[in-house]
Each structure stands twice: as C-alpha cells, then as structure tokens.
C-alpha cells in the first residue's frame, strides 16, 4: 500500500496540500499517484505570482506512460515552484511528499484545506480505484 501521511490533506485527484508554519501551502502529488504514473520525466508548473482558484488546472505531470493534469487544492497566489524538478523530475517518484513537491501558494482562505480529504478518506479513494 502507498504511503499517505496523516498530517497533510488530499484531493481525490491525487494532489496533497500541507499548511506550513509560515502560512503558505505546499502542493504535490501523492505516493499513490507517482506509483500509478510510473517514471516521471517532466513536470509543467504554474508561474510564480499566478493566481489560482481551488480546482484550477495548475500544471501537468508527464511520465513515460502518460500525462496527467494537476489541480490546485486551494485558492491563492503561487509564491514558489520547485525548480529542482526541471533537472530531476524523478524526485517526484523518489520523494513525493518531500523533495518532489510541485509549488507553494499563499492561500486566500486556509479554510479550504478543511474541505479536503484526510489520510483515511484518501486511502479509501485509492482502494476503491484498485477494485
């Protein structure tokens, strides 16, 4: 079974979001998602200063096998993107909740995080997919 840490929130579309101490929200894709995609070879990220609404398309992750859209879990302004992924997209496979993060936003409403799935609910989503 893939890993889904309990301290972060999830979307059924396999993004995760973590509220940082400085009030920003870091976004990436889950362990389950990277495993399903296989070797990641390219990640297209949003622009810095771009305003996103929850549910917006925020980028694309491409593996050898397939391309998959990434959706913004919360609304806000993009304040950083993970430039490491330009040269080392395999970090998404190796460390999806750490070095493989995608971007950070300054959220307009941290309350949107409460509408996301917790780890248990997300694991249920993954298990349903596997049936």
């Amino acid at each position: 079974m893939s890993e889904a840490p309990s301290e972060i929130k999830y979307l059924a579309t396999h993004e995760w979001a973590r509220l940082e101490e400085d009030g920003s929200v870091t976004v990436g894709i889950t362990d389950h998602a990277q495993d399903a995609l296989g070797d990641v070879v390219y990640v297209e990220l949003p622009e810095e200063d771009q305003d996103l609404s929850a549910g917006d398309e925020a980028g694309v992750v491409e593996s050898v096998k397939a391309a998959s859209d990434i959706y913004a879990p919360v609304s806000g302004t993009v304040i950083a993107t993970n430039e490491l992924l330009d040269d080392e997209p395999e970090k998404v496979n190796q460390d999806p909740y750490g070095d493989g993060w995608f971007f950070k936003v300054r959220p307009t409403d941290v309350g949107e995080l409460d509408e996301m799935l917790d780890a248990d609910a997300y694991i249920d989503v993954c298990e349903d997919e596997e049936d």
């Binding site: 495993d35 296989g38 070797d39 070879v41 390219y42 491409e62 050898v64 096998k65 391309a67």
Partner: protein, 368 residues
C-alpha cells in the same frame, strides 16, 4: 468482461514486484518498479519479457506455402527452413489486419501475431482457408531475452539444462551465439528458439511448454537477466523505429504510409497476395509517410497529437520519452514532402520538433 487471462509466469511476475495491468485481455506486468531502469538494462546488458500473450499459429499441409503467399504481403517463399521474416497481413482494401513474424519449420510455418488481434486473425485465416492448408493455434509460453549480453547469458543457462540444440533437425548452429539474426532452431526437448525480438537489440525469443517456463525464467533471473515489463517493451520498440499494431498500423492505413514498404514483396509479379491490387496504385508514390520526430524541448510527444509541417498537417501515431536519448521521440504520419523542422500541438501549445528518419536507437547506439 471476462477476467484477464494469465500466463504461466503470472505468479513469478507478482513475486518479482510486477505492476500488473490488463493488456489485450491478459494480466501482464507493465513494469517491476522503474520502466526506465528496465529499458536501460536491455540497451546495456540483458532483459527478459514474458510475451506468452502473443498468438502462435502453425500452418501446415501440402498447400501451406500457397496459403501464406496469398495472405502475407512479404513472400514466405524467401524462407529456408528455420528462417524467419517480418510481414503484414493485408485486407482487400490494402489496410493492415496485423503484422507478424513467420518462421519456416520442417513441418510448415509458424506465425507469431499480436495478442490484441488474435480473434480477427484466426477469423481471417478461416475466411481465407484453402483445401490442403491447415492452421492450428499453439498454446505455448514465450520469453524474449534481449540485449547485448542476452545470447551469452542464455547460453550459460542452457549449458546447465537439457536444452541441447538438435542437430538432427537441420540446425547448423552449435550454440545460440552461432545462430544468425532472423534464424531459428529447435532444441532436443522441443523448445523453439529464434534470434528475433522487437527491441532493436540482439537477443532470442524462446517458445516452450507452459510447464517448463517458470524454471527457465528463474534460471535466467539467477543469470542476471533483468525482468522487464510491457512499458519498457514499448519504449524500446519505439526507439528502434518498430511499429506497434493499433497505433502505427491499422486496417484503414496502407502499409506504404506506415514505413513497412520494405516488407512488401512485389516480386514475383504474378504472386497475387491479398491487398496487392489496392496498394499497387500508390507504389512508390504514397502521399504520406511514417517517419520519426525528435523534440528537444521539455515535454512528451504522445499518440494523437497534431503535427504541422511545411507540407501540411500530420499526426503522431506513437510517442514517448526516450530513456536512451533523454528527450521525447515519436513516429509520425505526415505528407511525403515534409522534412526539417515542424511544430507539435501539445495541449494547445506549439512546440518545435525535428523530422528524422528512424530508427532512433539500435544496438545501444543513437542514430539520429
């Protein structure tokens, strides 16, 4: 939907950590962790694929040759016993029903066709059947061992097994290393081994009884042959410029627009193979071609993307990220006159790509 069929190696795939998917009605490994690692193992060393899902049909009888000379656009009369050739089955309109490998055996011919096309090919053979030619599907396991060290590793494994090469059956080779490309042999315990494959590397394909395949697989693993899934098989064949049926070949498209004109045997003139009349009008002047594309920009080329060239539009039939070249490559069907730079529409963005002649990679070397 019935449950996917399982090959005799299914448990071995699961035990090796294979990520299993339904492929053409078969429960098959797409990778065992990293498709890229498996791909590079085949380019640099040796990897093995379970290809038992593919369809094996033996054609026999006094008119077997005549039957296949009518059905296969390449000419099986070019084959000596234990020779093999690649060819296409065409329909009357000149579209491709399937691509296949035909081996000539002492008893007749052995055809290996795709898994996804099994039912329609058997129905086509039935439809075209003639008195004096029989065809029977064989239930065998098949492993493809591919890579620069594949043959040497197989030879060590066979040395410790009962699979001795049967000289009595007309084989000239004393060891696998002596087997010529596109030649086959049979061992004294009845395994058929062809120096064939679909990766652009040296290697062999071994057809053997289901009950014996797990032991061979285990010994190959011990000899250091990397298990590889269908994912790596796809990137390897695409780098080698080899077509995948259903993407680069289909019933609506002429083989002349699919980079396999070299497999059409026009001589002798009187050989009336199915589809000959339909495609002969475009012989040497097909308005389209299937060729290669490289994109140095970031991103991945995919099946179905539109390509804009100076000579008109085209479409990507197969695209992927090339693990050897570390960039996106594709097979593309475009107007015959198109060359040089072109643009690909990737999710609404125009990206620059270059038209090149495949193969991209063979025998570990980059050709473009």
């Amino acid at each position: 939907m019935s449950a996917p069929k399982r090959t005799a190696l299914c448990d071995a795939h699961v035990a090796a950590g294979g990520k299993m998917v339904d492929f053409a009605g078969w429960y098959m490994p797409v990778n065992y962790g990293s498709q890229i690692v498996e791909h590079m193992a085949v380019r640099a060393d040796a990897g093995m694929f379970d290809v038992s899902h593919m369809t094996i049909i033996d054609v026999g009888g006094s008119r077997a040759r005549e039957f296949l000379q009518r059905l296969v656009a390449n000419d099986v009369d070019r084959l000596d016993v234990w020779g093999a050739l690649y060819g296409a089955l065409l329909n009357e309109r000149g579209g491709v029903i399937d691509d296949l490998i035909v081996y000539r055996t002492p008893a007749g011919y052995r055809c290996v066709v795709n898994a996804s096309t099994r039912d329609k090919v058997l129905a086509w053979f039935e439809d075209q059947a003639i008195q004096g030619a029989t065809f029977v599907e064989q239930s065998l396991s098949m492993i493809a061992v591919q890579g620069p060290n594949a043959v040497a590793k197989c030879d060590t494994v066979f040395a410790g097994m009962e699979a001795k090469i049967d000289r009595a059956d007309g084989n000239e080779a004393k060891a696998l290393a002596e087997l010529k490309p596109f030649a086959a042999l049979v061992t004294n315990n009845g395994w058929m081994i062809g120096r064939t494959g679909y990766t652009g590397e040296d290697g062999v394909e071994i057809m053997l009884p289901h009950a014996e395949v797990a032991v061979l697989y285990e010994k190959l693993l011990t000899a250091g042959v990397t298990p590889c899934g269908l994912g790596a098989r796809d990137t390897l064949r695409l780098e080698a410029g080899l077509n995948l049926y259903g993407q680069d070949l289909d019933e609506e498209t002429s083989p002349l627009a699919s980079n396999i004109a070299w497999t059409i045997a026009w001589q002798p003139d009187h050989r009336d193979f199915v589809g000959r009349t339909a495609i002969s009008a475009e012989r040497g002047q097909c308005p389209q071609k299937l060729t290669g594309l490289i994109m140095r920009e970031k991103g991945v080329l995919r099946h179905g993307q539109t390509v804009i060239t100076s000579a008109g539009e085209g479409v990507i039939t197969s695209g992927t990220f090339s693990p050897t070249m570390q960039c996106a490559i594709a097979l593309v069907r475009i107007p015959k006159a198109a060359k040089g730079e072109c643009q690909v529409d990737i999710r609404g963005k125009q990206k620059n790509a270059t038209i090149v002649k495949p193969p991209f990679v063979r025998n570990g070397k980059i050709y473009v």
